[in-house]
């Protein structure tokens, strides 16, 4: 787990918020893997991860001034990333033509690029399962379990009633259990 860097402590934050490119690049370099991981949790397939990650990084850089430093920086980054990704997903969904989406090809990663192969493969297996969960249920599962948002927070973030979010979580968990091989 990374340590949080409150605004008053990490000079990169203020510098980046003031438009210093090097400071911003340094921050993004540090958090890029985390941002891409969260984006991948939310997206079906690998092919659009970097497009969405770029949108999220842009929102982070443009929103740095609003980070008050009263909570872990990574939690703030997670929420900005989730919000941006979900918003962009909806925007693209509205634009998408009637044709259903094609699948993503799975390429084998370079072994040297993966620090802990077991955890990497485990997380790849997880998103392969999530790719079979309906989008709205997946969204609720990721926001709740991966970045630990509460049900009311998710409801507010996605603009749906609390009961709807609970229902999505219940259905999503049932679906995941079935995929894992157990009974709902």
């Amino acid at each position: 787990m990374m340590r949080s860097r409150p605004l008053r402590v990490d000079p990169r934050l203020q510098a980046a918020a003031c438009g210093e490119r090097e400071a911003a690049a340094s921050l993004l370099r540090e958090y890029l893997p985390r941002i891409r991981n969260l984006v991948r949790y939310l997206l079906h397939g690998d092919q659009d991860v970097d497009d969405f990650a770029q949108e999220a990084m842009l929102s982070i850089i443009q929103g740095l001034g609003s980070y008050r430093g009263d909570g872990p920086l990574e939690a703030w980054i997670d929420r900005v990333t989730a919000h941006t990704t979900i918003t962009e997903l909806r925007r693209r969904k509205n634009l998408r033509r009637a044709a259903p989406a094609g699948p993503a090809l799975e390429l084998v990663p370079e072994p040297s690029a993966v620090g802990r192969p077991d955890e990497y493969l485990s997380s790849r297996w997880a998103v392969a399962l999530l790719d079979h969960v309906p989008e709205e249920q997946r969204e609720a599962l990721v926001l709740h379990f991966v970045i630990e948002m509460s049900v009311p927070e998710i409801a507010e973030a996605v603009g749906r009633p609390v009961e709807t979010i609970r229902s999505r979580l219940r259905l999503g968990l049932d679906r995941l259990r079935l995929l894992v091989g157990g009974q709902p």
């Binding site: 990374m2 490119r21 911003a24 370099r29 958090y31 890029l32 893997p33 985390r34 891409r36 991981n37 984006v39 991948r40 949790y41 397939g45 690998d46 092919q47 659009d48 991860v49 970097d50 497009d51 990650a53 770029q54 990084m57 842009l58 850089i61 990574e74 997670d78 998408r96 033509r97 044709a99 259903p100 989406a101 094609g102 699948p103 993503a104 090809l105 799975e106 370079e110 690029a113 993966v114 802990r116 955890e119 990497y120 493969l121 485990s122 997380s123 297996w125 997880a126 998103v127 999530l130 709740h144 379990f145 991966v146 049900v151 219940r170 968990l173 995941l176 259990r177 894992v180 091989g181």
Partner: protein, 254 residues
Amino acid sequence: MTWRRGPRLRGVLAPLRNEPGPARPLSPVAADALIEATLNRAEGIEPFERPRMPRMRRSGRVAVLAVLAVGSVAAAGTKIVSSRLEIGPVRIVEHGTAPRPARITHRPIVAEEPPHREVPAVVAAPSKRDLLVDANQLRQKRQWNRAEKVYASIVKSFPGSDEAYTASIAAAALRLEHLDDADGALDLYLSAWKGRRDGPLAEEALYGMAGSYRALGRWRAERHTLQQFLKKFPKSSMREQVEQRIDQIEEMGP
């Protein structure tokens, strides 16, 4: 209220880590290019070219990712050269013209060198790998047109090479996904497929052909290509989706 994931799902929804997984690894070169492009957008240096929605989502980007992987290797080679020479920016080659040479100038050894003695410029053509790296970076910056032109120049200038093969798939994917040129994409995919039916990107080529036919509304050709895909790649991770698409086409009737 907090929901419990239960013992079976603990490994499924794990906390985020700051290393690859579940997102695929990204090479340092590609990561830097992505960050640079983001900062340029934030500073308004490069207007963001929003992608047009494709007629279907295709696997072509994966081919481009493969190109990126090649690009990383190529970039590593470039660094070795850069440590000795100053290499000017590689110019973007217009489609149909020969690649323009990068300008290479030697560093002056003595600072007090008389000003009237100009150091002659040594001109060298960019290698196909340099061009591939350049095209990948343009793609990362969402400059689809320019990236496609550089990929196309590699195909034209270095026919038969591994780089030309990879570039042809990447150019096809850009034409199909971003440039609304399904005809052009089909030509490139067909050429790549016919040239190397057992090549490392044969799966992408065949799947891209099917996607191009789909974008062109040629359902029969699409179905035939997808059937060919299943026959050629029976263990493909896309098998299920390809079968579903064949079913959809057959439900549409003759």
